[in-house]
Symmetry: C2
Subunit: 338 residues, 2 copies
Amino acid sequence: MSVNEKIVLVKRPEGMPGSADFEFKEEPLPVPQAGEVLVRTLYISVDPYMRGRMSAAKSYAEPYPIGEVIMGGSIGQIMESADPQWKEGDIVAGLWGWQRYAAASTESLRRIDPDLAPVSTALGVLGMTGLTAYFGLLDIGKPQEGETVVVSGAAGAVGMIVGQIAKIKGARVVGIAGSDSKNDYLTKELGFDAALNYRTEKDLKAALEMACPNGVDVYFDNVGGEISDDVLSLLNPNARIPICGQIALYNLEKPDNGPRMQTALLKNTALMKGFLVGQYAKDFGKALPELAGWIQSGQLQYAENIVDGFENTIEAFLGLFSGDNLGKQLVKVSEMTK
Amino acid sequence: MSVNEKIVLVKRPEGMPGSADFEFKEEPLPVPQAGEVLVRTLYISVDPYMRGRMSAAKSYAEPYPIGEVIMGGSIGQIMESADPQWKEGDIVAGLWGWQRYAAASTESLRRIDPDLAPVSTALGVLGMTGLTAYFGLLDIGKPQEGETVVVSGAAGAVGMIVGQIAKIKGARVVGIAGSDSKNDYLTKELGFDAALNYRTEKDLKAALEMACPNGVDVYFDNVGGEISDDVLSLLNPNARIPICGQIALYNLEKPDNGPRMQTALLKNTALMKGFLVGQYAKDFGKALPELAGWIQSGQLQYAENIVDGFENTIEAFLGLFSGDNLGKQLVKVSEMTK
């Protein structure tokens, strides 16, 4: 109990990351200074965007420094507080990443009410994942009743929420995912109008044309690459394309070529925009109750894929790129205490 | 005087259009019906976008029908009126295209005041060309003081207006054009901060990096292709990219491949949008006086390249793709009478 364990980046992955890019490291338990608390990690979030930060390339977030802990969203319980506003036992969400314990500035924490919903949802549907789906779809995609929304990575954490919110807004929703069982879940459990398996469709473009007889008004892009090329060939006038992720490209060793898409945007006077959920921080307080309300009314379901044990964190992260996970991928590190 | 002459499309060009794709055709002079006027063409506009309408591919405008006159913007003088609101001798702008005479519904016409500015400007800086630059730059590009704006096709009709409006808004402006004499004009006459020759620069990307030491905030894209790939590699966070044209691609026989752009948009939370000036029709009345004011104050200059004679219309159109024209390309068909 006096030792912290964390996972650090030891070298920048080339292509697909592997366990040799990371190392487990022990160090003394940190001591919270004034305005900080010591948290014990309950859940760790592993997300595709972290792959980007493992590279040295310039992007919206700084590259992870070599030798430092992998940062990202986590949920924890306060063990010791050096801030009178926060007390032992409180559940908090923060950005201390892949470690068993952390001393965190209370300014960086968000309080979680464990009676409202399972605390793990603060990393998923009631956290960055749900907010990413909410703002990308509603602020950029702006689906209208009767329009057609296509979402790639549809069985991923963000994708499945995107599709359900688009249904709530009255759109026809077509998902693209990598297995028939995922697609069954999307259509039978989540109410997607159609779902296509990009691995087994011989002609994805033709299948998309069948599934989108009125063209594509909104394409919520989680994957990039050839799947996106096919969707972009079916745009309607004034289509909107929120770019949320490009997971198909993250592990390529060389930049990938494809058809230039500017002509499709020009012909259809379409809008494409990359976004980052942090841009909407001032509106989180409005969005979270709306998401929670949809969960309570049964209109919004979520799926979590929880791996048990801090020692399995790297494997859980690497699994994101195999396309096998359904919904939000989390690692459970320790039990909440009453 | 009792015969009209027009240019019709006889086959859809494959790759670069040629004179064999068109035919001159004579027909009796049309007789204006109630609500119409007979106009004699003074100036014809030839524009790169017309290449797109010569193909059968779905786009924002219908393909030109085979055997029909090439439609587009023209200026004319009324010879005969069957609408009491319009009288003989009035100067009008409309969309009757490549013909010497036309019977035009007065609802489709805009009155031109020949005392305000040369009537040819109603097809250029005080017409669709100027309005395209104005709305694409200001509504999508939104240049801020001190930002860097790059414009491709910078010595073209739209590009040179874009650059000057960006200067009026206090931005650093870098143009890309195809000859040193054009670039001299841009920097010495129009006040561009820098201009690069894409034909002679050995490494355009490196030259752009030198010319844009603070990165690129707005890229007004008239050309597409490899020039655009280079600019897009230098985007700043929250960059905006109005897609106005893709002239580098219009005459390709096969779709062109290049680096996928979505990653650059995602990394920089950038916005890319194709647009069509017609989307802003309700605001033309606000924009035209502002453009005219800038001309009067000397802040906005324009260049016209006027070819004389209806018989040279096809040649003037084909010349657009050689990259030799500076500013707006017009054909003078007949003299205005007092």
